[in-house]
């Protein structure tokens, strides 16, 4: 059998299969059912987003831990940083287990912005904390630097929280 004939037969089989499938799909669902399905999807998405909202204590606790990293660096107590990092891991794991959901990692763009801002800010605050030690003392200067990072991280987490709440509200409207 010539090749073109084989090709034509295969093509016609594929076409009829595709047309039948399209017909079947169209027959299966009408406008009403599509709307009903979409409503069900919206409700589930809303429930899912509600589960993903972390409590305020969690955001505050993580912010304090991040601030304490700056405090320890500025106060030249870096050997204790590993304990703070360990505690961060425990808190994150505990919250994920308790809520039963893990929020999606932030998008790459947001992650890059976060890294670009947070790392220099962390280093800057450590330097500022160390610079202010002679003027404010070995406790107060690192405490102020750590406090600034705590506030910054807390504000960031509240922004993230607000994004989730806005997403739920937009699903509502």
């Amino acid at each position: 059998m010539p090749q073109w004939k084989v090709f034509a037969i295969v093509l016609s089989i594929l076409e009829s299969h595709w047309v039948n499938r399209m017909k079947k799909d169209k027959e299966q669902i009408g406008k009403g059912e599509a709307i009903e399905a979409l409503n069900s999807v919206e409700n589930m998405k809303k429930a899912s987003l509600k589960r993903a909202i972390s409590p305020r204590w969690y955001s505050a606790f993580l912010a304090v831990l991040a601030g304490s990293l700056v405090f320890l660096s500025a106060a030249n107590l870096r050997e204790y940083q590993v304990l703070v990092i360990l505690l961060m891991g425990i808190v994150i794991t505990y919250q994920a287990r308790k809520s039963g959901v893990t929020a999606r990692a932030v998008q790459m763009k947001e992650l890059m912005v976060g890294i670009i801002i947070l790392i220099p800010l962390y280093l800057l605050l450590v330097v500022i904390g160390q610079y202010l030690v002679p003027a404010l003392g070995v406790i107060l200067a690192p405490l102020i630097a750590g406090g600034l990072l705590t506030v910054f991280v807390y504000v960031l987490s509240m922004y993230e929280r607000q994004k989730y709440i806005s997403a739920i509200d937009s699903e509502d409207s």
Binding site: D25, Q28, I29, G30, K31, A34, I35, A37, L38, S40, V41, E42, N43, M44, K45, A47, S48, L49, R51, A52, R97, G100, V101, T102, A103, R104, A105, A167
Partner: protein, 96 residues
């Protein structure tokens, strides 16, 4: 934007709800899904198995506090198939 494509596997009510619940999240514990869907363990297992066989979800088991916990997540292929199905539903419902 995803290309509208009807997906008969995803369209079943429970599986559609599973995908909708998983879509905004990274991972969800099996028991949370069961509570949200208000179905039995076996029913949920069956649907997850079907989605897993199609390559749309993945399960991960871990043991904590002496009991086995199963975590479910929507993989990239499943996310894409779900989005395409939603686009098709919107098209059928005349929502642009």
């Amino acid at each position: 934007m995803a290309i509208p494509r009807f997906n008969t596997l995803i369209h079943a009510p429970n599986r559609l709800q599973i995908c909708a619940f998983l879509a905004p999240l990274e991972e969800v514990e099996f028991q949370i899904l069961r509570v949200e869907l208000d179905v039995s363990d076996s029913v949920l297992s069956k649907h997850i198995k079907q989605l897993e066989q199609a390559g749309y979800v993945k399960q991960r088991k871990n043991k904590s506090e002496g009991r086995q916990r199963t975590w479910v997540r929507l993989v990239e292929e499943g996310r894409r198939a779900f989005e395409e199905h939603i686009e098709e539903l919107k098209r059928l419902a005349n929502i642009t």
